[in-house]
């Protein structure tokens, strides 16, 4: 979980996985409005989160998150790895 303990680390991760430029992602940005967000990239992000933390997020989990900060908070709250 240490990989995403800080929101700034999670933002860096999203910018890298979504092939976005530094500064394109910020805490209050709406996930679904990110320039390269789509079904495939959503799956890639979920897959990479699972690789790094063993946390498995569902489509329902993702739908419930509006902003980047919401998604980060969800990951932090699931840091015990439950599904």
């Amino acid at each position: 979980m240490s990989k995403f303990a800080l929101l700034t680390d999670f933002i860096d991760f999203l910018e890298s996985e979504l092939l976005l430029s530094k500064g394109e992602v910020h805490a209050t940005a709406e996930i679904r409005s990110l320039r390269t967000w789509g079904s495939l990239n959503a799956l890639i992000v979920i897959s990479r989160i699972n690789d790094e933390t063993s946390i498995l997020l569902t489509a329902g989990d993702l739908a419930a998150c509006k902003t980047v900060a919401d998604l980060h908070q969800l990951i932090v709250s699931r840091s015990n790895g439950t599904y």
Binding site: L40, A42, L43, I44, L56, L57, T58
Partner: protein
Amino acid sequence: MALTKYKGIDITGIVNVVPETTEDNLDLELLTPEERAALVNHTGIRFRKVAPESLTIRDLFEKAIVKLLDKTGWKKEEVDVLVCVTQSPEMIIPSVSCRLHGDLKFPGSTMCFDINSGCSGFVYGLHTVGALLAGMETKNAKAILCCGDLSTHLINATDKSVRPIFSDGVAAIAVERNADNSEITGYFNLETAGKGQHAIEMQKENGGQAMKLNGIDVFGYSVKLVPENIQKLMEFSQQEMTFPDVFVFHQANKLINESIRRKLGIPEEKVPYSITDYGNTASASIPMTLGTGWKDAEQHSGWIVVSGFGVGFSVASALIRFSPLFCEPPEEY
């Protein structure tokens, strides 16, 4: 927990048949060039086989059965069981297997039925025909198991989440009971997570129906359930994870399959793929992968793991003795 095993049953041979037309995901106008490159890079799916509307699953199964009979040298009179696993019959009634029985003139002694199953269907079908053969009086009882779908006939061709994934193809598998049926030749773990029924389903659309896929939930169920299913299978068989020569997974996509592989600690060289050239061919994908890669596989124990997972949500794995007389790459219809 459906842990089960059979004795004296072996796969004699496998043939695969695909439609002639190939689509290249790098040319798919539905996606931007960047999306196409990312799709091929992450899912591993470059080419897909697409059947014209005029071609039916019955047509592909027929060609596969005729080739299988030729390769095995079996007479139709010797075939005790004919089972077709498919979710894309061109008509519901009668069953595909009964139509093929009539058209190919199998004898009245051949048992026929269809199984409605998708990505786990090869393993379910293999267990079903194996259990039937094991219970028969006839020594060297024989079964033909057909698996596959025309998934491209079930989707909306403008749907970006399914069009680049699914591909058409079938396999026919010759399964035989040995004269010596004292040895265990297959261990199975067949499981269902019905709470995942909506992850892949037909939904009403524009007056018809189309198959929809929730990629994130399919990923979640797969990487959670499949490793657990295989670990239970190996415990049941009292074998180590290093024992099987290869692990042949349903060809879902590389994101899913590689996550499963890593969770189980299986080395890359033990997990063959056919997904780059043939996409996700539903219940045909495991025999399709064996058909494209088996000749290159190194045999040590002579046992392999096959694992199907998907629509249902259904998960089925088996550790089987595997030393077929032939294992043919796909032939075009």
